[in-house]
């Protein structure tokens, strides 16, 4: 479980996150929904211990990210917005490297690689160097390395960006399986259809502030709109009006 409490983060004069609080529970998919520049990625980077918040705190399964960043990182699987693969390494070598950084070695490491490769249907690309991989194949490697150590909490920053329909469907299926297995899945997105299908819990962020928080159905109902997209427009606009 990931608990974010009143975090704020500024980069010089730019206040990227003002006041964001939410909880992402185990066995559920929590989505940060917001426009570009709303503070979603900054919030997720703070959860991943890549940024230190100026205020507030983040805890991952009870471990404070600010006090024990590596302790928290052991409990997290990170799927960043850029896949960033090493083109001279094979997919298997990627998985082994990240698994070893999480303390796996020997037989458990081999078993973990085989399991994740099977889960993501990577048999045909496992021993190929990642240079020249398609976007879908790159996504598989990035996702596999994020979950190779079977983290309880998985953080994904706009995971479907740049993927084709088949890859999106596959990713969606895997995230649902992870949820069913009891993992805490926290992702960011601005694709309404994807959020509506996947999410158990949506946190709408506008201008670095949480403007609404609940299930997709609750948010649509509370906003009095026919769908999540319309609800998002109404709820974020109301927040901006209040701020003004």
């Amino acid at each position: 479980m990931i608990l974010v409490e009143n975090i704020g983060k500024a980069f010089g004069d730019v206040q990227a996150v003002r006041d964001v609080s939410f909880s992402a529970k185990d066995g559920a998919i929590t989505t940060l929904l917001g426009a570009n520049g709303s503070g979603k990625s900054t919030t997720l980077r703070t959860v991943a211990a890549l940024l230190r918040p100026d205020q507030g705190s983040v805890t991952v399964d009870g471990i404070c990210v600010q006090k024990d960043p590596t302790g928290a990182q052991r409990l997290l699987g990170i799927f960043p917005d850029q896949f960033g693969l090493y083109t001279r390494l094979t997919a298997r070598e990627h998985l082994e490297y990240f698994a070893e950084l999480h303390g796996l070695h020997g037989a458990p490491l081999t078993k973990a690689v085989e399991e994740v490769a099977s889960l993501l249907q990577m048999g045909d690309i496992l021993d190929r160097r990642t240079e020249g991989f398609s976007q879908g194949q790159r996504m598989k490697v990035a996702l596999a390395r994020a979950i190779i150590h079977k983290p309880k909490n998985i953080v994904l920053d706009e995971p479907t960006r740049g993927l084709d329909v088949m890859s999106i469907r596959m990713l969606r299926q895997i995230l649902l399986e992870l949820k069913e297995a009891g993992h805490c899945v926290l992702l960011s997105s601005h694709v309404m259809a994807e959020v509506e299908i996947l999410s158990d819990h949506v946190v709408m962020i506008a201008d670095g502030v949480v403007c609404a928080d609940g299930t997709p159905e609750d948010l649509v109902r509370d906003a009095g709109q026919p769908n999540l997209e319309e609800a998002f427009v109404v709820l974020t606009s109301a927040k901006e009006r209040n701020a003004a």
Binding site: F83, G84, R88
Partner: protein
């Protein structure tokens, strides 16, 4: 901690050994330098060999039998030449031309001063040396004639030389030996820079360019440990490549004929071991310095610009040491590269290491390594790097 260090090191080595640029840099430097040296020695060598005699053409040959005999006795090949007016260039296969006046014999007999023109060509070192030899022989003949005249007048020759000067060179190495030796050592100094530049760039600037830094920094490994693993990889390339260059170069130099070498190598097992230790520590320093530069670049291309500026450092240091040693402040002699140049030249060419200088080189390189690694870790842990990544 130790295990994570090994994990990072192993991955980095595997990745970089597959990098054609890195492997090509090592191979081209290690095997290119002997070719460069062979070319330089070829240019420096005397095409005709040491046994070839210096050719001197004498205008007025018929009236200077004594001079001709003296020159031939000194080992010169003397030929007559007919000369009118001033000479503009030396005839082919001639190293010097001596032009005697028409009244040479008459003036010689009457003891009058004789103006003699000596034409030489200083275009090349070899020609200049041969011209100097002829000039020296002419002076010696002049002294011999003067001596003969004084003796016939009852004047002892010792009056001509009131002082007998005996020069004793106290320099640990001769200037020319030291300069040429330092040039070779300088090539070894550049070696860790050349060998490790590409991998150092890829290790940090490359991570930023391919946007893999975020994923890596989100793993449960401390920044200093991550930097240490990458640094060990870069240092391995720097040291491995440098030792390959040293072994290849020194091995090939053993096959070069002694008279073609402008210096004499004094290699001992102990000296080589000491040199290996010193080059190892220098490689550690260079690796840390390259990483400290690489971390400031957002891309490989930007890093190459910074690296080309950094490469000026050993070049400037090397030339300052070679040509301006006496003008450098005292502390400079204890800095990395400066101290290494001196120490390695002593080991390779004098055969007597100066332990004080060697220790200075080791200590300053180690200190530099620690400072550079701390700066790199600090920079890598900064949020600015990640927000730009």
């Amino acid at each position: 901690m130790n295990r994570l260090f090994k994990v990072v090191y192993r991955k980095e080595m595997k990745d970089m050994l597959r990098d054609k640029r890195a492997v090509l840099a090592i191979a081209s430097y290690a095997f290119g330098i002997p070719l460069l040296m062979a070319f330089i020695f070829f240019l420096m060598s005397d095409d005709r060999g040491k046994e070839a005699r210096t050719n001197v053409a004498v205008s007025g040959y018929d009236q200077a039998a004594g001079l001709v005999a003296f020159l031939e006795n000194e080992g010169f090949a003397v030929t007559p030449i007919s000369l009118e007016g001033e000479l503009e260039s030396l005839p082919k296969q001639t190293d010097a031309v001596i032009q005697l006046p028409a009244d040479y014999a008459k003036k010689l007999a009457s003891g009058q001063p004789i103006p003699v023109e000596l034409y030489v060509d200083d275009t090349s070192r070899q020609n200049a040396e041969r011209g100097d030899d002829v000039k020296g022989a002419l002076k010696a003949y002049s002294l011999q004639v003067a001596g003969a005249r004084l003796i016939t007048r009852g004047v002892p020759l010792s009056l001509l030389a009131p002082m007998a000067i005996n020069t004793r060179d106290l320099a640990p190495s001769s200037f020319i030996n030291k300069m040429l030796g330092n040039s070779l050592t300088l090539l070894f100094m550049f070696s860790p820079f050349v060998m490790a530049m590409s991998v150092a760039l890829d290790a940090l600037a490359g991570e930023r360019e391919r946007q893999s830094l975020q994923s890596l920094m989100a793993q449960p490994i401390s920044t200093p440990l991550l930097v240490a693993g990458k640094w060990a990889m870069v240092a391995s390339f720097a040291f491995g490549g440098t030792m390959l260059a040293v072994v290849v170069d020194l091995s090939l130099l053993q096959f070069v004929p002694g008279d073609m070498l402008p210096f004499k190598l004094q290699l001992t097992a102990g000296g080589l071991l000491l040199a290996a230790v010193e080059l190892g520590v220098l490689s550690m320093f260079v690796a840390s310095l390259l990483l400290a530069v690489s971390i400031h670049a957002k891309s490989f291309k930007e890093g190459q610009t910074y690296m080309s500026m950094l490469m000026m450092v050993p070049v400037i240091a090397g030339y300052a040491k070679l040509y301006g040693e006496s003008k450098l402040p005292e502390f400079v002699h204890y800095l990395p590269i400066f101290a290494d140049l001196e120490s390695l030249a002593r080991i390779f060419f004098d055969g007597t290491p100066d332990l004080m200088i060697t220790l200075s080189a080791l200590a300053s390189s180690l200190l530099g390594t620690i400072v550079c690694l701390m700066l790199t870790s600090r920079r890598l842990a900064s949020e600015q790097i990640l927000s730009e990544a």
